[in-house]
Structure formats: structure tokens, C-alpha cells
Amino acid sequence: MSSPALTSKVKSNWWKASLQQLLAFASLIILVIFFSVASPKFYQPTNLSNILFSIVVTGLLAIGVTLVIITGGIDLSVGTGMTLCSVMTAVFLVNLGLPMVLGVICGILFGALIGLINGIFVSLLKIPPFIATLAMMLVAAGLSLVISGTKPIYTTGVPGFQQIFAQGKPIPGLVIPNAVLILLIAAVVAGVILAKTVLGRYTYSIGSNEEATALSGVNVIKWKVIIYTVAGCFTGLAGVVATARLNSAQPAGGMGLELQAIAAVVIGGTSLQGGKGSIIGTMIGALIMGVLPNGLSTIGVPQEWQNVAVGIVILLAVFLDMLRRRKSVS
């Protein structure tokens, strides 16, 4: 049944998939080369480490968002949700005085709780994800202020917290801090979930055709709740890392981060239609979103132009991706 022509077809499929990531990757490389040539200060270990450090929180949020987007949903609550998790982590560690590990786990689980609630609204109650998570975005923003009493909560009294979850540089000689390693580990875990587990397969299936998946005997409602909950864990982890980095929970921020995270996901080639996407792509997208403001500032572009540049690069990256895809279709 499989002629040589057919085999070549399969190969070309594999190539296509790699090419897609290659293309986002190419955009990234071009940016890096451009900035390196434009300013010698860009391509320094410290600066590169700065960039990595600067994408950790967005990157973690983007991982969760990737899962949700692959199901065909969207999550607008990750930005302020992260803030709420940050506040809650500080509450657990400082106000309740939990041991560090337990406090951190509770912080992550609080993220899971947010995801669970999102999941219940989206999956069980069938509220469109855009609305359910928009509402959660507002609720989380409000609760962060309410719980913290509108004041930052400082975790300076928790010994080792900042070192372990953000600043510490475990590899001697290398300037890569723990926070970046946490992002890396989270990306690998999410990547494995997507590629190698039943949960990951259902994530793609639901995004591809939810009704058909349900009629195939998959308990879609349950699995969708699980996916949103897992995605929430990454929001919680982002909250923990943000708290550690700032050594405090800042209750007012977070709004707007969700768009950055979504932009990273989409630049990385994940389709908002659902059914398609990858964590590696998202990581490349997050890197692009991190390299841009840093590079532009390094080469001295006034800040008011930076948003313009970021907008244009997002368009270009996605447009190139589209071109490639269209070419490979026809």
C-alpha cells in the first residue's frame, strides 16, 4: 500500500513540523545577530542572562497558556492570576509562617485552584473561555488587592527563598540563575505532558474537534477541567518565582502580562484555532519577546519606539510563519 511517493509524503510532513519551529527560531537568530552587530554590549553573558531572567515569568505563564490554547481556548487570567498567586505565596510564607517548601507548594496549588475554577466555568458551565477568564482576570486583580490590603508583602524574612527560587546560580562560572532553570524544567515537563501522555493527546484532540472527541467516549468535560488545572499550576509557579525575585508580593501588577504570554505562544506557531502547537515554539516566542525590548534599549532606541518595534516584529514573525505554511499547503 505504501509506494515510494507515499513515503516521501510522510517525510515531508516531518520536515514541515520541524521547519515551523525552525522558522520562529530563525527569527530569533536574526534578531540576536542584528543586535549583536549593532551593539557589542548586547552579546555579553550578563546581558544574555538578563534576557533569560526577564522572560521567566512570562515564559511560565506562556506554558500554561499554550496548553489552554491548544484545546481551542484562551486564558486572559494568567497575568493577574499570577499576581494573586504571588500574594497568596507570601501569605502562606509570611502571614501563616508555613515552611518554605510547603508554602511554595501551596502557592502552586493556589494557581491550580484558579485553573480549576476556570476549567469548571469553561468546561462544565460552557462559558466561552474568553469571558470566563476575563472575569477571572478581574476577580484575581481585585482579590490580590483585598487580600494584601493593597500593600506589598515582603518575604525578606524567609531565609533562602529568593536564592532558591530566583537568584541562586547553581552552576559555578555560569551566570544562569535558578529562575531560568525552573523555567527550563517547567518547559520540559509541559513538553512531555503534551507529547507523551494521554492528557497531552486529549489536549490536542479537544482542540481539534471537541464534539468528535466527546462522542469517541472521552470524558471531555473532565479532561478539560484537568487541562485548565494543570495550566493553573504554571501560573502558580510563575507567582512563586515572581515573589522570590522581587522578595515581595506586589499586589497591583500583572494586568497586561497575559497578552505578552499569548503573543509568545502565537509567535511560537501555536494556532489560536486549537489543535496545534508546541512548548518549544512557545519558548522561542518568549525569547523573541524578551530579546526585543532588551536589544532595542541596548542599541539606544527611545522607549516610545519600542512598542512600535515589538508590534512590527510580532507581525513579521507570524506573517513569515503563515507564508511558509501557505507554501507548504499548495
Binding site: 534599549s297 541596548t298 522607549q303
Partner: protein, 306 residues
């Protein structure tokens, strides 16, 4: 303002070359910060140094400021100037600067640390107390007032609120504060908030806006409701609309800081620090109450921006 000399391209550290001072503020979009930037640029020209000036998109964006600080450090400046959104959150960068022997100057608000060699700032609480004093006087030390704040969390916002509230509590107990709402310094949002408060409290005697956008919001509200004259409005900062409102009597008066001075003094102190000179720990850039009577006074006018 767009043709800032490109800080990155001129190898800053080379001896004999220009010194480079990295400045990270709390914002860049609003006029206040643009005025600080102007002052800094003026000083940079005068003392022949290069500067960079950056700030987060929003004053709630602590993380972005930390990234910008790290990045500023990566440019290996000869001095670092910082208006911290949160003292503790920037602790790490300050330590980093100390270990690299880069002098740090704080501006706008103090940093809770002994690393900065000097702080060029306005005492926001004292300035807000001054506004409270004037408003109390204007309404005869009695009656209801309300506040439109620009931030519930940023120190400049909370200090200007608390300074005002505390002064009234101790010095004018008959003045009651019926409502405090926060409009993010956005004029449209502040206008609508102020209108809601004014409609709900028709017997309100006075209102206070804690920055330019908030104050203009109150002025707009008074105008749109057609109740000018009934309400005493005091504000903060300057700007054309505020100056006009004071001249026309819509606003009784306002506190102005000296943003240009803050920027200028910051760079000046940084230059001195690079040369190893001894610095005053506190550089009070001052604040002034201005109203119809003294608005054209050259000393005041110098501190106003249009």
C-alpha cells in the same frame, strides 16, 4: 525628545571618554517623568556625560523595572540613578552595583537602603499635608472632602493620600473624608469617578487630586456637572490644563514639585559621585503651593511645566 544620544554605541567606560549614567525612573509616558528626563538631559549636557533614561510602562510594573535595572547594569555605567517602585524589590540590583563599585543615586522617592549615596526627592507626605492645609483653609476647616488618587499601591500615591489624610485628622478634625477613589492617573477614568462622588455627595466642599491626571479629572467633573464655584479643588503637579484651571478659578491651587530640578540634581549628584566627591545624603528638591496669586512668580513659574 527622541534624539537622545545613543548611549550604547559610545564605548562608555573608556578613560577620557564621556561618563555614562544609567537612569531608571518609575515611568516614562507621563509628563512628570518627561520633565525629570528634561532636567537630566540638561545636566548631562552641562556636565558632558551620556545618560539613558527608561522606566516601566506602568507604575505597578515592578518586575519590568527590575529588568530595566539589570539591563542598565549590563551597560556598565559609571553611575546608576534610580527611582524605585519598591525598595526591597530592587535590593539585589543595589547590591550588585555596590559590589561593582558603581555609585547609586536615588531620586523621586527614597530607597530603603544605605547604598544610595544621595537621594534627590520631594517629601510627598509633607507636600500632601501642605495641600490639605490649604484645602482646609479654603473650606473654613469644616465639611466633607473627597480624594481622587492615582494609585492605591505605588508609594507616591499612598504617600500623597496619607499625608493629606493624616494632616486633616490631627489639624482639622471637623473636615471629614467621605470617599477615596483611584483612577490610575487616567483623565477619563478620574473624571467619571469624580462625577460619581460629586453626584452622590452634593454637599461636598472640597476635592483633592493626587497627581496631574487625577486633578484634571476633578476639574473636568466640576465643569461637566456645571458646579464650578461650589467646590474647592486642590491638586498636584502642573501642566497646561491645571495652570489654566487655576487661572480661571476652577481650581483653587496645587502643589508643584520640581521635576526638572529632580532630574537635574540627580545627574549632578551622579557626576559628583563619579568624581569621588562627598555628597549630601538628602537633596531636597522642594515643593511649592501655587495658586492664582503666585502662579506668575518667576520662582514658581520655573517649577511648572506646560
Amino acid at each position: 525628545a527622541c534624539d537622545t544620544p545613543s548611549a550604547g554605541s559610545s564605548g562608555a567606560a573608556s578613560p577620557g571618554g564621556k561618563s555614562f549614567i544609567a537612569i531608571v525612573s518609575k515611568g516614562f509616558q507621563h509628563q512628570f517623568w518627561q520633565s525629570v528626563k528634561q532636567g537630566a538631559e540638561k545636566a548631562a549636557k552641562e556636565f558632558n556625560v551620556d545618560i539613558s533614561f527608561e522606566g516601566p510602562d506602568k507604575e505597578t510594573n515592578v518586575q519590568q523595572q527590575v529588568d530595566q535595572l539589570n539591563q542598565a547594569m549590563a551597560k556598565s555605567p559609571q553611575a546608576l540613578a534610580i527611582a524605585a517602585l519598591d525598595s526591597k524589590a530592587v535590593e539585589g540590583v543595589l547590591q550588585d552595583a555596590k559590589s561593582k563599585n558603581i555609585p547609586v543615586i536615588a531620586f523621586d522617592s527614597g530607597v530603603d537602603s544605605d547604598i544610595p549615596l544621595a537621594t534627590a526627592s520631594t517629601d510627598n507626605k509633607a507636600a500632601a499635608a501642605e495641600a490639605a492645609k490649604h484645602l482646609a483653609q479654603l473650606i473654613g476647616n469644616e465639611g466633607k472632602v473627597a480624594i481622587i488618587g492615582h494609585s492605591q499601591t505605588a508609594t507616591s500615591g499612598t504617600d500623597r493620600r496619607d499625608g493629606f489624610v493624616d494632616w486633616l485628622k490631627t489639624n482639622a478634625p471637623k473636615v471629614t473624608i467621605v470617599d477615596i477613589q483611584y483612577g490610575d492617573g487616567d483623565q477619563l477614568k478620574s473624571t467619571d469617578l469624580a462625577k460619581t462622588i460629586l453626584t452622590a455627595n452634593p454637599d461636598l466642599k472640597g476635592m483633592y487630586g493626587t497627581n496631574e491626571g487625577s486633578a484634571i479629572g476633578v476639574v473636568n467633573a466640576v465643569q461637566e456637572l456645571g458646579i464650578s464655584g461650589k467646590l474647592k479643588v486642590v491638586g498636584f503637579d502642573s501642566g497646561k490644563a491645571q495652570i489654566d484651571a487655576i487661572k480661571s478659578g476652577l481650581m483653587a491651587g496645587a502643589i508643584t514639585q520640581n521635576p526638572v530640578g529632580i532630574g537635574y540634581e540627580t545627574v549632578k549628584a551622579a557626576v559628583a559621585a563619579i568624581k569621588g566627591e562627598k555628597l549630601e545624603k538628602v537633596i531636597d528638591t522642594g515643593f511649592y503651593w501655587y495658586d492664582k496669586s503666585n502662579i506668575d512668580d518667576p520662582k514658581i513659574a520655573a517649577n511648572l511645566y506646560q
